[in-house]
């Protein structure tokens, strides 16, 4: 029954990775900004939720505050950091370095305010129940998987059925054309950042309730989102979703063959192989150049 147990925890982990990766992929696909500080948005949202809980504000206000914090951070990054850089140069690497720098700042500021040790929020949702003999699942797992499905469906609906959504998809292909249609690329870019950053919230909240938080988590989250985006194929939001689940499953199923210290290595071995063998990703159309 070990494999079934690991598949279920893999799906739970995968659901959280998938949504965060979809957020990164949405931002990267629409604006071409390599938003490395996406992991910092995750950490901010998680700690705002944690703070709201310790202040006794309750679950729902906590989630709302976390979402506001993540979105504000994303939009601020776009307006204050990326826009000025893109105005004068905008080479991918300049943007990446600035983003990386801000990621370091957020990690350390959060560490100074909340401490660097692990914190968790106690909740009955994270208590495992016996599903069948030897297989334990916490309610959080079902919530995670349901969240991934609902949020992804809503995002797809938004991107395909609304004017703003269609404009966002067009932004990736041709910012000039967007201007011709009388739309403002800067405003659309901010919308992409707000939406993409909001998608970290389910993962952040459930990590706070489940396995716990520390300020360095942003790094791990970022690496996973990046891996999922590339494995799935840059520009493919569905690809990022599938790849998020694949990485979550791989990390857990690897436990059958390797000791747990190797689980992160498995993720990056997959990433490395995909980049060498199929740079366009599993679902990508474009070439890597």
């Amino acid at each position: 029954m070990l494999w079934l147990q690991l598949t279920l925890t893999g799906l739970q982990t995968g659901a959280l990775y998938a949504l965060t990766a979809v957020g990164f992929s949405l931002i990267f696909g629409a604006t071409r900004v390599f938003h490395f500080a996406h992991g910092a948005a995750f950490v901010l949202a998680a700690y705002v939720f944690y703070w709201a809980d310790t202040a006794g504000l309750g679950m729902i206000p906590g989630i709302v505050l976390a979402a506001l914090a993540a979105m504000a951070f994303g939009v601020a990054m776009d307006r204050l950091v990326y826009a000025p850089i893109q105005r004068h140069e905008g080479s991918f690497f300049t943007v990446f370095v600035a983003s990386f720098g801000i990621g370091i700042v957020v990690e350390n500021v959060v560490g100074m305010v909340f401490g660097r040790s692990f914190v968790t929020i106690d909740s009955t949702l994270s208590q495992s129940r016996e599903l069948m003999e030897g297989v334990y699942v916490a309610p959080l797992a079902w919530i995670a998987i349901a969240c991934a499905a609902v949020f992804f469906a809503a995002l797809q609906l938004f991107l395909r059925r609304t004017h703003t959504g269609m404009a966002l998809r067009a932004l990736a292909d041709s910012p000039e054309l967007i201007r011709v249609f009388g739309l403002d690329p800067r405003r659309l870019s901010s919308i992409a950042f707000a939406l993409g950053s909001a998608l970290v919230v389910p993962g952040a909240v459930m990590t706070a309730l489940g396995s716990g938080l520390n300020p360095a988590l942003g790094h791990h989250v970022m690496l996973i989102s990046l891996a999922a985006t590339i494995v799935g194929g840059i520009g493919s939001i569905g690809g990022a979703l599938v790849a998020g689940f694949v990485l979550g499953l791989a990390e857990n199923l690897a436990l059958i063959a390797f000791p747990s210290q190797w689980s992160e290595a498995v993720t990056f071995a997959i990433l490395f192989l995909v980049i060498i063998l199929r740079p366009a990703g599993l679902f990508g159309r474009a070439t890597a150049h």
Binding site: F34, V105, A227, A265
Partner: protein, 316 residues
């Protein structure tokens, strides 16, 4: 105070070697690697094992470390030939994360998390060199040597091919440059020279473990290159000195809580990276954004002028 300065001098020399070698591929070949600490680590582990079991002479440890690092660097050259930009950064990240796991799990070679202890000091001219006063001239000399080697390479025809590839791969290819070979050589050279820093580090500290070769080190070295000035001769050295002096300076500021010095230092260099990218992407030593723009505009004008002239000739 003198001991402190000498110790700082040794560390600046070692990190300057790392920054200069990273700058070699970043600034001139356009290969943005987040895996530089891997080769620093490989150099340190190979150097330590050779010193412990074979000979503590630098003429044994350095060549051995360079050969192993050069061979392993082919793992980095492989993605560098296939992809560019964000894809390569991601691939190098993957390599760095894999290496951390190998460094901390392969107990036979690396001593695992605990690391290797009791690494013998460098033996030169029949004497053990371990005191900072004796080690600093050695480390500084090696750093200068590495700087000279990379300078010579950059200014050779090889270096010109390298920058040509960075600026336009297809143009370089149409001039008959063997892109795969040139890129591979640049990665191999950079990794092999970075391993030299690893050997010095292991001999100097006589203790190494995985903590010194993590992603944080790769990022720190990258920050040194960027803050100093990517693609400049002395920028990486300035960056290395600046970032290593910073913690010492901060401890003089009495109003800062001493337990948070590490965090404050990281916040300063994180902010430094972001602010520099916004206002001065060329780094401290590099050209300012305005100068870059002017140069680009002039180059464009010149190119436009040429094509205009050609058109006129065609019309005749």
């Amino acid at each position: 105070m003198e001991a402190y300065l000498l110790n700082l001098g040794v560390l600046v020399s070692i990190y300057a070697i790392l920054a200069v070698t990273l700058n070699f591929i970043m600034g001139y070949a356009g290969i943005f690697s987040l895996a530089h600490a891997v080769f620093f680590g490989v150099g340190a582990y190979v150097g330590a094992q050779m010193a412990m079991h074979v000979s503590a002479s630098l003429f044994v440890t350095i060549p051995a470390a360079m050969v192993v690092a050069a061979l392993l660097s082919l793992a980095l050259a492989l993605p560098a030939l296939r992809v560019r930009g964000e894809y390569f950064v991601a691939a190098s990240l993957g390599l760095q994360m894999l290496a951390i796991t190998v460094f901390s799990e392969w107990k036979g070679a690396t001593g695992g998390i605990g690391g290797l202890v009791g690494i013998p000091a460098v033996r030169m001219f029949g004497e053990d060199i371990y005191r900072p006063a004796a080690f600093f001239p050695l480390a500084a000399a090696v750093a200068v040597l590495v700087l000279i080697v990379t300078r010579l390479l950059v200014h050779s025809s090889f270096g010109r091919s390298l920058t040509a590839i960075r600026d336009s791969e297809s143009a370089a290819e149409s001039f008959g440059k063997n892109i795969a070979l040139i890129k591979t050589i640049s990665v191999v050279v950079s990794a092999a020279l970075a391993a030299v820093a690893g050997v010095l580090y292991a001999n100097y500290l006589s203790f190494i473990n995985v903590e010194s070769f993590t992603l944080n080190t790769s990022v720190l070295v990258m920050a040194m290159v960027i803050i100093g000035g990517t693609g400049t001769a002395l920028g990486p050295v300035v960056g290395a000195a600046l970032l290593l002096i910073l913690p010492g300076l901060l401890s003089y500021l009495w109003f800062l809580p001493q337990t948070e010095i590490g965090a404050i230092q990281q916040i300063i260099y994180g902010l430094g990276m972001a602010v520099l990218m916004i206002f001065r992407p060329g780094g401290l030593v590099g050209r300012s954004a305005g100068a870059r723009k002017r140069r680009k505009r002039d180059a464009l004008k010149a190119a436009a002028g040429q094509s205009e002239a050609r058109k006129m000739e065609g019309a005749k």
